[in-house]
C-alpha cells in the first residue's frame, strides 16, 4: 500500500509538471481534475500529454474527449496497469 501511495504521489507530481509545462496553473491541478472537462486541453496539448506519459511511464493512453479521465485515474493506470495492457 505504502509503495503504491508513494508511486501515486511521484506519478501525480510528474503529471503536474507536464501540465504546468503546458501553461496550466498549479492550483487547478488536483486528483479529481478531469483533463477535458476541467482543463480544456486542445488537440495539440492532449497529444503532448499523451506523448509525455508514453515517454516517462511507457503508458499508451488514448485521451479521446468522449471518455474523460481524472488525473487520479491516469495515475492509477501508471501504477497498476491493467493485465490486458501489460500483456
Amino acid at each position: 500500500m505504502t509503495g503504491n501511495r508513494t508511486n501515486n504521489l511521484t506519478v501525480m507530481d510528474a503529471i503536474e509538471t507536464i501540465l504546468v509545462g503546458l501553461g496550466i496553473p498549479e492550483d487547478t491541478i488536483r486528483e479529481d481534475t478531469l483533463i477535458h472537462a476541467h482543463l480544456g486541453l486542445d488537440s495539440v496539448e492532449t497529444v503532448k500529454l499523451s506523448l509525455e506519459l508514453k515517454r516517462q511511464f511507457d503508458l499508451d493512453l488514448k485521451l479521446g474527449t468522449r471518455k474523460d479521465l481524472t488525473l487520479a485515474e491516469i495515475c492509477q493506470m501508471v501504477v497498476a496497469p491493467s493485465p490486458a495492457r501489460s500483456a
Binding site: G23, P25, V44, S50, K54, T65
Partner: protein, 520 residues
C-alpha cells in the same frame, strides 16, 4: 475562356432545393447522406426533415431574407436548420462553437438574427441575449426536442402560401447564407454568399479537382461553420450523392476513433491533425485501409508531414488553400500530382495571379500579392464597406497573402501582407495576444510573431517581451506569463515560448520590427 457555372443555372434558383431534389432520384434516395453517432439518414429522409424544418420555421414566423443563426456542433439539426432556412428563403448564419462568448454575442447582434437555433449548454452560457431583432430561440434539446417537434410537422410546407413551388423562389444571385470570418480588424466579419456559390465550389473543386463520387464517405476535421468544413461536410457530398460523417471530434484521438468506426474514403484534414495523428502512431495507430484520398487546407502543410504521412500510410496529402470570402479552395494540389510545400495550382474556374506593387502579373519566381477571381466570391462583408472595398475589385479578391508562382504553375506561400498568421487554421492577431501580455505586471513591451521551425514544423505563437526594471527573466516568470495569457485566450493563441529581450527592435517610425524578430 473559363466555363461559367453560375450562368448555367436558372435565374430562379434555390440552392437547398437544387441539392436536395437532385438526390431524390431512385438510385440515390435510399443511400446514406449522413452518419451521426449510431444513426444514419438517407437522402429521402434528409429531404423530408429539411422540408419539415422549413415549415416549422415558417410557422414560427421566420421571414424571407432574414437571418437565422445556427450555434450548434455538427449535428443533423444543424444540417436541417441550414437547408430548411434556405428552402424558406431565410439566410442561415452558422456560428463557430469555438468562438468566444463575446464573439458569439457580437455575431448575434451584428447579423440581426431573427431566429437562433442552439442547445441548452449554449443558452446557459449566453444568459440573457441583448438583441432588438431576435424573436425566437429554438433549443434543439429542450423539454421537447427539435426532432420530436419536426416529426409532427407535415411536409407540404408552402403550398397555399402564395408560392408556385414547394420551395421559395429565390434568385441565384441573392444572399443564401453568411459565414463569419475573423479578420484583420478585430471583430468577426460576415461574408455574404449567394445561392449559386455552393454549386460553383462543388463543381469546380469537389467534382472536377477532387473527383468526389457517390460511393464516397467523407470525413472533415474542420466543422461546418468554417467555410472549409461547410463544403467538405454539407454541400460537396450532397452534390454527388455521397455520405458525410457528422462528428463531435475535438482532438486527434477522437478523429482516429472516428476513422476506425465510420471507415471514410476521403479525409479532409488540417496540418495540425495530420501532425498529431503521426506523432501518436505508436499510442493510437490509425487504420487507413478505408481511405483513398487525404486533403489538407487551412494553413500550410509542412513538407516533412507530407513525407512522413506518405511513408507511414502510403497516401499523399493534397494540400490546397481557400478563403471564407471565396467560400472554398481555389488553389490545390491534384491527386497524383502533389508538390509538397506548395498550395498547388489553380482550381478549375479560378483565375489566380501573383501581382507586383503596380498590380501587374509578377514574373514566375518573383514574390507578390495573391489575387484570386472566381464565381464563388462573396457579395461583400455585411456593413463593412471599407473592408469590402479594400478586399474586392470586380470578381477579384486581394487575399492578403504573399506568394510565388513557379515555372510549372505551382504556387508557394511566402507570408502575409499584414502581421496576422494562422495556427491550426485559425487566425491569430499578434495585437490581441500582445494586449493580453501587456496586462501582466512584469511586462514593459511585447511583440508576438509566428515561428516556423527550420525543419518545417507547424506554425507556433512566439512572444518576445522586455521586462519592467524590477523584474528579471526566469522560468517561473515565463510560466506565470503563459498562465495569465491562457486564462484569457484559447489555447492556440497562447505563446508556446516566451523570449526575454532587453528591448524590442523597432523601426524608425517606432513600430515593432517584426521582420527582425522573425530572424532571431
Amino acid at each position: 475562356m473559363m466555363k461559367s457555372i453560375s450562368t448555367s443555372l436558372p435565374d430562379i434558383f434555390n440552392v437547398a432545393a437544387h441539392f436536395l431534389e437532385a438526390n431524390l432520384v431512385p438510385e440515390r434516395r435510399d443511400r446514406v447522406a449522413i452518419y451521426y453517432r449510431d444513426d444514419t439518414y438517407t437522402y429521402a429522409q434528409v429531404h423530408s426533415w429539411v422540408r419539415r424544418m422549413a415549415k416549422f420555421l415558417a410557422e414560427l414566423g421566420g421571414e424571407r431574407e432574414r437571418r437565422i443563426a445556427i450555434l450548434l456542433p455538427d449535428t443533423p439539426e444543424f444540417v436541417f436548420a441550414f437547408w430548411g432556412a434556405i428552402w424558406l428563403g431565410m439566410v442561415p448564419v452558422p456560428i463557430n462553437t469555438a468562438c468566444t462568448l463575446e464573439d458569439v454575442r457580437y455575431i448575434l447582434q451584428d447579423c440581426r438574427a431573427q431566429v437562433l437555433v442552439t442547445d441548452r449548454s449554449w443558452l446557459e452560457r449566453l444568459g440573457k441575449i441583448e438583441s432588438l431583432f431576435l424573436q425566437h430561440v429554438v433549443q434543439i434539446d429542450g423539454d421537447r426536442s427539435l426532432m420530436s417537434l419536426l416529426s409532427q410537422q407535415d411536409e407540404s410546407i408552402l403550398q397555399g402560401r402564395g408560392y408556385a413551388n414547394d420551395w421559395v423562389q429565390t434568385d441565384r444571385e441573392e444572399p443564401a447564407f453568411w459565414l463569419y470570418t475573423s479578420g484583420s480588424t478585430g471583430r468577426p466579419k460576415g461574408a455574404i454568399h449567394l445561392h449559386q456559390s455552393m454549386v460553383v465550389c462543388a463543381e469546380n473543386y469537389g467534382k472536377e479537382l477532387v473527383g468526389l463520387q457517390a460511393n464516397d464517405i467523407i470525413y472533415s476535421v474542420a466543422k461546418m461553420p468554417f467555410a472549409y468544413g461547410l463544403g467538405n461536410t454539407l454541400y460537396m457530398p450532397m452534390s454527388v450523392g455521397a455520405a458525410a460523417i457528422l462528428s463531435d471530434a475535438a482532438n486527434a484521438f477522437d478523429i482516429i476513433t472516428d476513422i476506425q468506426t465510420y471507415r471514410p474514403t476521403v479525409l479532409f484534414g488540417i496540418p495540425g491533425i495530420y501532425a498529431g495523428i503521426l506523432s501518436l502512431a505508436e499510442i493510437a495507430p490509425l487504420d487507413v485501409s478505408s481511405l483513398r484520398l487525404c486533403l489538407s487546407a487551412a494553413e500550410q502543410l509542412p513538407p516533412t508531414i507530407w513525407s512522413k504521412w506518405r511513408e507511414l500510410y502510403g497516401l499523399e496529402i493534397c494540400e490546397g488553400i481557400g478563403t471564407t470570402e471565396l467560400l472554398h479552395i481555389f488553389l490545390s494540389n491534384r491527386p497524383g500530382a502533389c508538390r509538397p510545400g506548395t498550395s498547388g495550382r489553380p482550381v478549375p474556374g479560378y483565375d489566380v495571379r501573383v501581382v507586383d506593387d503596380r498590380g501587374c502579373t509578377a514574373l514566375d519566381g518573383e514574390i507578390g500579392a495573391l489575387e484570386v477571381a472566381g464565381e464563388s466570391l462573396m457579395l461583400g462583408y455585411w456593413n463593412r464597406l471599407s473592408a469590402t472595398r479594400s478586399a474586392l475589385y470586380g470578381t477579384t479578391m486581394r487575399t492578403g497573402d504573399k506568394y510565388i508562382r513557379d515555372a510549372d504553375g505551382y504556387f508557394r506561400f511566402m507570408g502575409r501582407n499584414d502581421d496576422f498568421f494562422k495556427v491550426n487554421g485559425m487566425w491569430v492577431s499578434p495585437f490581441e495576444v500582445e494586449d493580453v501580455l501587456l496586462q501582466h505586471q512584469s511586462i514593459l513591451d511585447a511583440a508576438v510573431v509566428p515561428n516556423t521551425e527550420p525543419d518545417g514544423d507547424l506554425t507556433q505563437v512566439i512572444a518576445y517581451v522586455s521586462l519592467k526594471s524590477d523584474f528579471a527573466p526566469s522560468i517561473e516568470l515565463e510560466r506565470s506569463i503563459r498562465q495569465a495569457v491562457k486564462a484569457q485566450l484559447p489555447p492556440f493563441k497562447v505563446p508556446k515560448s516566451i523570449q526575454f529581450l532587453d528591448a524590442l527592435p523597432r523601426t524608425p517610425t517606432g513600430k515593432v520590427h517584426r521582420q527582425a524578430l522573425l530572424k532571431i
